[in-house]
């Protein structure tokens, strides 16, 4: 087991955000986390990555309790988060953003090789490497954000809505890259609004509603699930901007 979460509770002040969340990710898997806005998906990712301390419950990384690990040392363990809204270092160049992704000691030793790997995945970033990231398009910024996370040599890559606000072609490009990254042996934990696309590429998925896990299953299986179809894929669900 790569990542195992047990009985996780989190809250913002008195408002509960997560209650009793349990899930797991095996090495090499693609796992999707689905759910409506405000369900607590971002909170869950933040709690795993150490940006937020949970009220109760444990996050186990290869059996080690991450609750005792200082936030900045979590990425060193092999767990990287591509945060919602990309969160780049806006005043810095593409290459500076990428090399900062290799700040942790283990990643620093592999910086050259990882940089080549990222440029191979996103050739446009090599061309733009001296540009200030604030001036890039949204899709290119998302590439930098994914690339920055890859620079840490992760074994689990977590992504929070990587397709948000991108043009359909760019969405497909990013999702394709995730599959390619996964083929290289990196497990992927994906939060995605684009339910059909997420379920198509995920091995397994969890459904989070108002802070609780209300369903789980294989990607193809959930695509046929009546509740999922009604709530996320049916004609009354939020309009999708592209169909696979």
């Amino acid at each position: 087991m790569l990542l195992e979460i047990l009985g996780l509770d989190a809250a913002y002040g008195d408002v509960p955000a997560l209650s009793g969340v349990a899930l797991s990710v095996e090495p090499g898997e693609i796992v999707a986390l689905l759910g409506p806005n405000g369900a607590g998906k971002t909170t869950l990712l933040k709690a795993i990555a150490g940006l937020l301390r949970p009220r109760a419950g444990t996050v186990l990384w290869e059996g080690e309790d991450l609750g005792r690990v200082p936030s900045h040392l979590i990425v060193e363990r092999g767990l990287a988060l591509v945060p919602e809204g990309r969160r780049l270092f806006g005043s810095m160049t593409v290459e500076e953003n990428l090399t900062l992704g290799a700040f942790a000691p283990r990643a620093r030793n592999a910086q050259g090789a990882n940089l080549e790997r990222v440029y191979a995945l996103f050739p446009i970033l090599r061309e733009r490497r001296r540009q200030i990231v604030r001036l890039l398009s949204g899709g290119q910024q998302q590439m930098v954000s994914v690339g920055r996370a890859l620079m840490s040599s992760p074994r689990l890559l977590m992504l929070d809505e990587p397709s948000l606000g991108l043009a359909p072609l760019m969405v497909q490009a990013i999702l394709d890259v995730l599959v390619e990254i996964n083929r290289g042996g990196v497990a992927v934990f994906l939060v995605e609004q684009n339910v059909r696309a997420a379920l198509t590429l995920a091995h397994r998925a969890y459904i989070l509603e108002t802070g609780r896990i209300v369903g789980e299953g294989g990607g193809a299986e959930l695509l046929q699930d009546p509740h999922v179809r009604r709530a996320y894929l049916g004609p009354l669900a939020a309009p999708e901007y592209f169909v696979l």
């Binding site: 940006l51 900045h72 040392l73 780049l88 806006g90 920055r148």
Partner: protein
């Protein structure tokens, strides 16, 4: 006309020190989101440090930079660990409020300490070469102040190199941009705060040394220098160290011009007018992003 240009030359040179003072304040504010209103007092302490080294040990003030700057860095480490390290644990709005309280308290304490140690008299360092003047046409350029300007510029350039080339320098800039993203890349954000605060204090010490040699110091100059630095930070905006330095030069020139045109008493007003104009026309500052 000669009087005006002479004033402008002098204004340009003190502007370099305004810039140096402001860069330290701007670095701390930009990274920690903490406003250290005792920055001017730290400049004052740096000045007295150089004064002591000169008066007691006969050190040349420019050479004593090599001692004053490291000592100021250490002082910065100490102040961060003792006072400001607790402030950065709160959210940004609370940080500002708490840092103002701590800063004012620190300013009062340092002022009292300086009166105790060095009395309230004005002091300055008078070296053997203090009166040397470079004559260019009708203009007289005091060599000491010219050297101070050059040192100030060299320090900004060194800081720029540190922030772009050094691993932790880049970490400091990353933390200023987005501390949560910095945490995600494995940067120990607390250490980035500590380093930025120490660097800012080191620059204050350097600025103080240069003030004590070309100008004069007294325990009460702190507030004045904090104000100048603040004006420059608002004028230049956050994010660019060279931009801040240029902002300092601009303030020096503007003060000199207004003193020459409207008379000496109006010198101090011009900075406040500039703040007002900048806030109305370009709230992000001349060189600030967004």
């Amino acid at each position: 006309m000669i009087i005006l240009s002479q004033q402008l030359v002098l204004g340009f040179m003190i502007g370099g020190l305004y810039g140096l003072a402001a860069v330290g304040l701007s670095l701390i504010f930009g990274v920690l989101k903490v406003l250290n209103v005792a920055h001017g007092e730290l400049i004052m302490l740096g000045g007295y440090g150089a004064y002591w080294l000169f008066a007691l040990l006969g050190f040349d003030p420019f050479a004593s930079l090599l001692l004053v700057v490291p000592l100021s860095l250490l002082l910065g480490l100490g102040l961060y660990c003792a006072l400001f390290g607790f402030v950065v644990r709160t959210d940004e709005e609370t940080r500002i409020k708490n840092s103002l309280l701590i800063g004012f308290g620190l300013a009062l304490a340092l002022h009292a300490l300086a009166v105790k140690l060095w009395t309230a008299d004005e002091r300055g360092i008078t070296t053997s070469y203090a009166g040397s003047v470079l004559i260019v046409g009708h203009l007289a350029i005091p060599l000491v102040r010219l050297a101070s300007l050059a040192v100030a510029f060299a320090l900004i350039a060194a800081l720029h190199l540190l922030l772009t080339r050094w691993r932790w320098g880049r970490a400091i800039r990353a933390t200023a941009d987005d501390w949560q993203a910095a945490l995600l890349t494995g940067i120990d954000v607390r250490r980035a705060y500590l380093l930025a605060f120490a660097l800012g204090t080191g620059l204050a010490g350097a600025a103080g040394t240069l003030v004590s040699v070309g100008y004069s110091i007294s325990p009460s100059i702190g507030l004045e220098w904090t104000l100048k630095a603040l004006i420059v930070v608002v004028l230049a905006g956050l994010g660019s160290m060279f931009g801040t330095f240029v902002g300092g030069l601009f303030l020096g020139l503007a003060e000199a011009a207004s003193a020459a045109v409207f008379g000496g008493p109006y010198r101090e007003v011009v900075g406040l007018v500039i703040i007002f104009a900048v806030l109305v026309a370009r709230p992000q500052g001349l060189f600030g992003a967004r």
